[in-house]
Amino acid sequence: MNRASAISLRDLTKFYGRQRGIEGLSFDVAPGEAFGFLGPNGAGKTTAIRVLLGLLRPTSGHAFVLGADAWRDHDVRKRVGYLPGSLAVYKSMTVHAYLSFMMRMREVDCSLDAAALCERLTLDPSRRIRDLSKGNRQKVGVVQAFMHSPDVLILDEPTSGLDPLVQREFEEILREHRNRGAAVLLSSHVLSEVEHLAEQVAIIDHGRLVVVEHIHDLKARAVRTLDLEFDSPVDPGILTAVPCVTEVSAHGTTLTCTMTGSEAELLRTALEYGLVTVVSHEPSLEDIFLALIDGGADNAAATAS
């Protein structure tokens, strides 16, 4: 186990039920690092996270939080903030009563921080949770996860249900906590949700780690499409010769290219032919999966081990 890691999975395996579970997961999250944990729904993200919170007992392998075994050591969770994927809070309570309850259970008083978080997220603490919309309930989950300024934040699909403005504020809050040194594990099934926040990402599929990589490298490897608009119709042939480009098609003055890797060469060539605008279609997680499965399998295995 890496002593410096805030979160450390070592060959973590958890089977339950018939098929769901995770197998042989290993990765590390350092203090002050935001780490994206990506995979399609049902890939096992939530299972791994719930092992980290001591809710599930590993079948084999280990999950360490701040150096402590997640299953055995409940005390370490004083320094952990957790936002569950399917958040459920006591509906009969008001937001204020719920947050106070959580503080008393944690034996900390962080009511000022909680109040500040509520204000930033525009959450009215006097409202009864039962009467809140899904988005506002999610805010309650966010506040209780951050209010005690934990050293480790484990957030399972944190932005689900939040509107874009609140989402931006949430990202800001998350960055502040990361900058003060908190380790953040951020799970999502969409890449765009974590790409502004996380430096490193792990991708899992069917319970197994596909890759752990820097997000830029990951995106560079993905197949994506670019729409290049020219001032006059051009011959698609001018771009097929460019390295990294795999496919080109023409629609009027626009060329649509499918490509991987760096865009520099492509743009340099296109400019010579009167390029006007570029629209880049961000690769979806699915595209990245495909790219990984296509060419990156060996590489992924090397990274994962």
């Binding site: 339950y16 939530t46 719930r50 919170l53 001591g54 809710l55 599930l56 007992r57 409940h74 005390d75 370490v76 969770r77 004083k78 952990v80 957790y82 569950p84 399917s86 958040l87 459920a88 809070v89 006591y90 009969s92 309850f101 959580m102 008393r104 259970m105 944690r106 209780q144």
Partner: protein, 265 residues
């Protein structure tokens, strides 16, 4: 002791506690209300009860029906009061753990920096204290009501019957708690506990009539609570202790099971 959790559990149960307590009190009051009529010599109740087949009289513990102890033992403690406490105990015991798991609130609760056994212990105590509260109401209704109804009953005997009732509710609550800890499913816990409670009740009820049941009646918690006829004979300390010990054993088993298993989501 996890006071915030205890307080929360009670406030969740507040309506239930008031409801069960009011039900218990009204049951006692109504039965005490009609007692003077039944006891008066010209009511003929003695002859009626004497005309009952002896089997039925034994089943409903109808010995000396018009005496205060006989009347209360038949009308309240042979059937109504024990079943009220068992139903209440099973309902609270089965939901204590499972509600949080089925509603998904367990995730945040058990991810707190608190050992699971402490959370469980707090939940168990909350249930037991709620049952005890209703038990105190039962005891108070009897202690205040019997002299008013002109019944000459010792406080010791009334207390013994009330304590037995509370412990009976407690043992089945603890059993339901254990099933909840094992399965995390309210329906299963409720169902299993009800079946076992009814079986125990039938054994106790029919023991005077069915020979097989007579042999196993000492396995029934109902027998432990009421076997010595507390309204006549007061406390049967060993058997009440047995009830308490079994209640605590179910708790210990719950802790053992729950600290090892996965929390459902």
């Amino acid at each position: 002791m996890l006071l915030p959790l205890l307080r929360k559990t009670w406030s969740d149960h507040a309506k239930g506690i008031v409801g069960w307590a009011a039900g218990t009190a009204s049951l006692v009051i109504v039965m005490l209300w009609v007692y003077p009529t039944i006891a008066s010599s010209n009511s003929g109740m003695d002859q009626i009860s004497a005309a009952f087949p002896p089997e039925l009289r034994e089943m409903f513990r109808m010995n000396d029906y018009t005496s205060p102890a006989g009347y209360l033992s038949t009308e309240l403690f042979s059937f109504m009061i024990p079943l009220v406490f068992v139903a209440m105990g099973v309902s609270w015991g089965s939901s204590a753990i499972t509600d949080e798991e089925e509603h998904g609130t367990a995730d945040l609760l058990y991810s707190l920096p608190i050992a699971r056994w402490r959370i469980l212990l707090a939940k168990w105590f909350a249930v037991m204290i709620a049952i005890l509260t209703v038990g105190v109401v039962l005891w108070a209704a009897l202690a205040i009501g019997t002299p008013l109804a002109g019944m000459d009953l010792g406080l010791t005997e009334l207390t013994a019957a009330s304590v037995g009732t509370v412990l009976l509710g407690g043992v089945f609550a603890s059993l339901a708690f254990l099933f909840g800890a094992m399965t995390g499913r309210k329906g299963i816990s409720l169902g299993l506990s009800i079946v076992l409670a009814l079986a125990a009740f039938l054994v106790y009820m029919l023991a005077p009539l069915v020979e097989v049941f007579t042999r196993i009646e000492n396995l029934s918690p109902f027998q432990w609570a009421y076997g010595n006829e507390p309204l006549w004979n007061g406390f049967d300390v060993p058997r009440l202790v047995l009830l308490a010990v079994v209640t605590v054993l179910f708790l210990a088993a719950s802790l053992g099971v729950y600290t090892r298993r996965d929390i459902g989501s």
